[in-house]
């Protein structure tokens, strides 16, 4: 815990001040660690990630990155702070070309460095290269996700947050995306991702947090939770009680 890169302590947040969606959530991500957040529908997973990203108001609690307070950070300052965020849907500009998408993502960098990083992005994701001058709207689901991740990497973040990177992808693409994420962690960047596809996500991640009804329920090494019957119960129990 003391070596945490990202630390979330007792965070309560929601879309309206008097209507918290997540309550008193705590969690952490260490440098170079891949952490997954899972939980049934409505658990508050995306809300948590959006709250960290400054997209909704945190009413109590604290978020720190490497000790620096980033609670309620303005979303556009995340890159400076060292975090990149890949939203779930609409995470690329479909009316801009692939190249322009990357140029937008590289705006926080000085121009020469931006050029260098974009060239690097094409080397890392060669699938994108043929589409440089085409509107990103023509990309397939998997390519879009690659572009979104490529964009996130441009600013060389210490932490990448992904909101359901596998959403809407064909199973083969899910494997592809996940193996790339697992590869990324080896380069030293930490990843925090929210996933519906709990099993696949836990298989590649170091640790997992299980949320339900906006609160922490379980956490621990993914390998252990993968076989924990309680995880299944949280999913089922929730479904059983649903009105």
């Amino acid at each position: 815990m003391s070596a945490a890169l990202l630390s979330v302590a007792g965070v309560t947040a929601g879309y309206q001040p008097d209507l918290p969606i997540i309550r008193d959530i705590s969690m952490s991500v260490a440098a170079g660690e891949l952490v997954t957040i899972i939980g049934p529908n409505g658990a508050g997973k995306s809300t948590l990630i959006k709250a960290i990203a400054g997209q909704l108001r945190i009413t109590s609690g604290r978020v720190t990155l490497d000790g620096a307070d980033i609670t309620n950070i303005a979303t556009y300052r995340m890159a400076e702070a060292g975090i990149a965020y890949v939203p779930q849907t609409e995470n690329i500009f479909s009316t801009l070309t692939v190249d322009e998408n990357l140029r937008v993502g590289a705006q926080p960098l000085p121009k020469p460095e931006a050029r260098e990083r974009i060239a690097e992005a094409y080397r890392t994701f060669p699938d994108l290269d043929p589409f440089r001058r085409q509107k990103a709207g023509v990309l397939s689901g998997g390519q879009r996700q690659m572009l979104a991740v490529a964009r996130a990497l441009l600013t060389q973040p210490r932490l990448i947050m992904l909101d359901e990177p596998s959403a809407g992808l064909a199973p083969k693409m899910v494997d592809e995306v996940f193996s790339r994420l697992a590869g990324l962690v080896k380069t030293g960047v930490a990843i925090l991702m929210v996933e519906q596809n709990a099993k696949a996500a836990m298989q590649i991640s170091d640790r997992t947090y299980v949320l339900a009804e906006g609160a922490n329920r379980l956490d621990g090494p993914s390998a252990r939770l993968l076989d924990d019957p309680e995880v299944a119960e949280i999913y089922l129990g929730r479904a059983g009680r649903k009105v």
Binding site: Y15, G42, S46, V243
Partner: protein, 331 residues
């Protein structure tokens, strides 16, 4: 003293007619969330429609059908409703502000028609010598005005009561549901476009009614009475009183028309005749300030919205929670 009383009657007739128009706008904006930037067009269509239908026959002019006043009123309303239908059909399924732009366009167009289509509208001179309903039954103009005040008040009360019933009916609940959240209304199996269309057309007809009543009162119609500023005045009346609230709408009419009349009186006495254009500008600036300052500092108006309408009235674009809160959906 009598002069003051006579003027008061005159003032109240105008206020009551505007109150009817404001109630029409309230149905569109306050209850349904539709922005009409061309109120004056629907008012003018009602007025000219009524005038053409009731007017005496004349050479080289279209119209002059010499119909009874109430038939003329109904005709004016129908024409205003038709105009509302045309712009609403073009825009209601599209971005919300397209209705605003299209209504702004119809206001400009109607102004041009009023000025240029002389055979129908009498052009810049307008149509004069229109019959005033039951005018012959009264010995003095003052007595007639008192009668007409009672008449327009009765009409206003009927419209008020009908609208209050309508917005509390199931139909009114659908309107509010749509205003707050189009998607939710659709999931209830209501067709938002049809309901919005009904509300907009009905509101336009009510504005047309106001125009017809105005013609019956002054006995002539000319483009001077249908300047673009009227749209702004009606809007100011609506939001000062508090949109979504018909009692507020009436109060707003009194306040804004009082302000307009008083400022006009003061300015015309204080300003040399050469500067009348500037004097008019000052009055318009007052209306503009009323609108902008009310929006900024008292968005619910003097009275605010009644409880029938939920508190979300003006927060409709606060980010709607999307996938994360199924717990709420059952409620």
């Amino acid at each position: 003293m009598l002069g003051v009383a006579l003027y008061l009657v005159f003032f109240l007739i105008v206020v009551t007619i505007y109150a009817i128009v404001v109630m029409g706008l309230n149905l569109q904006w306050g209850f349904t969330g539709l922005f009409n930037a061309g109120v004056v067009a629907f008012y003018a269509i009602g007025a000219y429609g009524t005038a053409v239908l009731i007017g005496p026959a004349r050479d080289r002019l279209i119209g002059g059908f010499e119909m009874p006043f109430l038939v003329g009123l109904a005709g004016g309303m129908a024409l205003a409703a038709l105009a509302g239908l045309i712009v609403a059909l073009a825009t209601l399924k599209l971005r919300e502000e397209y209705l605003a732009i299209a209504t702004f366009g119809i206001a400009i167009t109607i102004q041009l028609v009023a000025l240029n289509f002389e055979a129908l509208t009498g052009g810049a001179n307008g149509l004069i010598g229109l019959p005033r309903p039951m005018f012959d039954l009264f010995a003095t103009p003052g007595g007639y005005n008192l009668f007409y005040l009672i008449f327009v008040l009765a009409v206003a009360v009927v419209i008020y009561a009908a609208l209050e019933r309508a917005v509390r009916s199931p139909w009114g609940r659908v309107l509010r549901a749509i205003r707050e959240d189009v998607t939710a209304a659709r999931s209830l199996g209501k067709n938002p476009t049809t309901t919005r269309l009904q509300a907009f057309v009905l509101g336009s007809a009510i504005m047309g009614l106001g125009g017809g009543l105005y013609v019956g009162f002054i006995g002539f119609v000319s483009p001077i009475d249908f300047l673009p500023i009227l749209t702004f005045q009606i809007w100011a009346m609506l939001i000062v009183g508090g949109s979504g609230n018909n009692r507020g709408a009436v109060l707003g009419c009194l306040v804004v028309w009082g302000l307009w009349t008083a400022s006009g009186y003061v300015i015309s006495n204080a300003v040399p005749p050469g500067l009348q254009s500037q004097a008019g500008a000052v009055q318009a600036i007052i209306i503009g300030l009323v609108i902008v300052l009310t929006l900024l500092f008292r968005p619910r108006g003097l009275i605010g919205e009644e409880d029938v309408v939920s508190a979300h009235a003006r927060d409709d674009e606060v980010t709607t929670p999307q996938e994360e809160i199924p717990a709420q959906q059952g409620q």
